[in-house]
Symmetry: C2
């Protein structure tokens, strides 16, 4: 069975002047992809009648599923709702359920419900209303000539909520006759081509209804097995068998068997081993702490970070020695080691990590721009490393943080 093909249409002038980065499309594409629906085109148009009308007309000739985001707010430039109503030949009517919900949202936020807010409860009478728990603008589901057109608000968390509550379950029911299952393997520290070579025979031996995809990102290669079949239990059994075979072959670089971000893999590992982590961050300015605390419950294993941007803070709080700074310079493995040890001591953790580096040309440092020194320490051992990053300041910071999280993970797994 070939996959269903979809277009995502995003509406909004703010996308076309570059004021907003479109994160909705990536979210939608990822989630449709996991349900076996291929997004083959994405189109962004402004808040203009012609732009929206033409995009809709054209994409309907191409694909059987159209997802639209944006253009549903209460302000005057949002023209999508009446346009969709006209396009599909309906008329706008107040939906009592939506009205009650909108009024409740206004009450909760202590805002007066005005006459013009009534419009927010209007929907075309020829659509299925998709309720929006987190906002006032409902989603709308239209059907025409075997095509499905879904319109969603542009606010990311509202869009995600309606997708999860209403759209994905309906799409699954409609399109997914076969079972569709995924299993993942996350590897770290090896390149895509190296991994492909290691597992060539296993990949070749996969049955035709199980596909393997490589999803590389800096320092990480994610492998995803996707299987289709009519016997779900049997399919899962087979997928997990192949997942195990691949994981056993790639053993030394496997860091997780589920598709979760690096900071969560690290968090799970720390919790599992009942270890706590403390950081001393210079050049990363708190970004590693920020990443780790993106995970709910990270207070179980993360005590804190000493962001020691000024040299005095390295000395005062972490106990870095003036002689070490003088002899080796602030960007050195020797200083990173004293920072890691200081972090472990003052934050009272099992593991201490220190990072110092030069992200962009500034001041009169004696090291090359892009030089990063890190150190890791626990009760048994201390290691340090130097690596280099080669881009601009912001991307260098991203790379330094990604590499740091990987190194902490590998240190705790005794891979380094």
């Amino acid at each position: 069975m070939s996959n269903v093909r979809a277009t995502i249409i995003t509406i909004g002038d703010e996308l076309l002047i570059g004021q907003t980065i479109d994160t909705n499309s990536a979210w939608i594409a990822q989630h449709l992809n996991l349900q076996g629906i291929d997004v083959v085109r994405r189109v962004a148009v402004g808040d203009t009648r012609d732009g929206i009308w033409n995009a809709l007309t054209e994409e309907l000739t191409r694909n059987e599923l159209i997802l639209i985001t944006g253009g549903l707010g209460p302000t005057a430039d949002d023209i999508t709702k009446p346009l969709l109503c006209e396009f599909f030949g309906g008329k706008l009517v107040v939906d009592e359920k939506v009205l009650a919900h909108v009024k409740e949202m206004f009450t909760k936020r202590n805002r007066p419900f005005l006459e013009r807010n009534l419009k927010q409860a209007e929907v075309p009478d020829i659509c299925t209303v998709l309720s929006n728990r987190l906002g006032t603008a409902p989603g709308m589901w239209f059907e025409q000539d075997n095509s499905i057109i879904v319109s969603l608000p542009g606010v990311p968390f509202e869009m995600e909520c309606i997708m999860e509550d209403e759209v994905l379950p309906r799409l699954k029911e409609r399109f997914q006759s076969d079972a569709l299952e995924h299993r993942n393997i996350v590897t770290a520290g090896e390149g895509e081509s190296f991994i492909a070579e290691q597992i060539l025979d296993l990949e070749t031996a996969l049955p035709p209804y199980i596909k393997l995809a490589y999803l590389p990102s800096p320092g990480i290669v994610k492998l995803r097995l996707t299987g289709r079949g009519n016997d779900e239990a049997q399919l899962i059994k087979e997928l997990e068998h192949h997942q195990q075979l691949l994981a056993a072959r790639l053993k030394k670089c496997v860091v997780a068997l589920e598709d979760i971000p690096l900071e969560q893999i690290l968090g799970n590992l720390l919790r599992e081993k009942a270890l706590t982590l403390g950081l001393a961050e210079s050049c990363t300015g708190g970004y590693i702490g920020h990443k780790i605390t993106q995970i709910s419950g990270s207070s179980d294993y993360f005590n804190g970070s000493i962001v020691c941007y000024h040299e005095q803070v390295k000395k005062d709080i972490l106990g870095v020695k003036q002689e070490t700074l003088d002899e080796f310079s602030v960007v050195s493995e020797q200083v990173a080691v004293q920072m890691a040890e200081g972090a472990r001591r003052v934050l009272k953790t099992a593991v201490g990590f220190g990072i110092t580096g030069l992200l962009s040309a500034s001041g009169d440092y004696s090291v090359r721009v892009g030089t990063i020194c890190v150190a890791l320490t626990d009760k048994d051992r201390t290691i340090s490393k130097t690596f280099h990053v080669h881009s601009d300041r912001l991307r260098n910071k991203e790379m330094a943080v990604g590499t740091s999280l990987l190194l902490i993970l590998r240190f705790i797994k005794s891979m380094i």
Copy 2:
């Protein structure tokens, strides 16, 4: 004169499966917009011949400028270059200048130059080659029937570099007969509609060749004046006159007269006043420190941050009192004040800031999810505030950080 209209086409399977968020389009749109070119459509297609060919054919019937990013790398799935060559009726030839540059890049990175890398130096013989200082794939500039088609690599910093070096100057020369100038006013703490009301008469009095745009984001409203005219000096004089009038009217909420991010406005202010800043971050986990250190040279005014995720760290390093924690709970203005004072003391700064809050449901806190308490202190005064955020964990953190940066800015400007 009406604006030139452009389409951005982005190519890459990674965009359609949601693996990559498209930041290139926003960058390009912003920069074209500043040159008076309107992006009216954006289309994303996968690495397929049909997808690319059709998108190009269709968009050429619509707009006179097409910018393409992606699909130019050395791997097999990148089919854009031969396709463009065929589309415009040329043939691929090795460009000696590009070849020398590619070889130099390989040497610099200590990688062997292989036979298949020769392809990277091939370009269609009917395009103008746009040199890529930071990468191996050159940009290409095609012209056909009064349309301009520019193809650029998808790696963001390479794309940006070619745009700045080669594309934007050529577009300016080609399309911009009149002078086009912008002046900005950044306001904080007031909503778009309030501001619009305050300046209604000034906006109405603008000459027809000067337009005012509102660019709102959480907590911030940016006003941009854009003027066109044939006398550049006169135009700038007028723009600055209107900028001054608007700024004078909005005085109490104006935070900058140039278009720079909040963390840079704050940095400039701290440097100008020769003040230093120290943070104590609990719920934000280091994110405020990260934001502040995104600005090169921030070590001039930013000493560091104590990320005190664990209660023990608040007590040990910042001197938060057990009685205060017991009496008011960890999420309280009283604790925030002690954190701010502690940060100022141990980081030896002029200004101290503390933040503690509950971003998502976890543990057995006695406060409502989304409650954030902050405090600010300097030699003269200490203030504290409580605010609430209403979204999911990650967006709550973003909001808390944005609000914090604004509060620090307003504290230093004595606006609060």
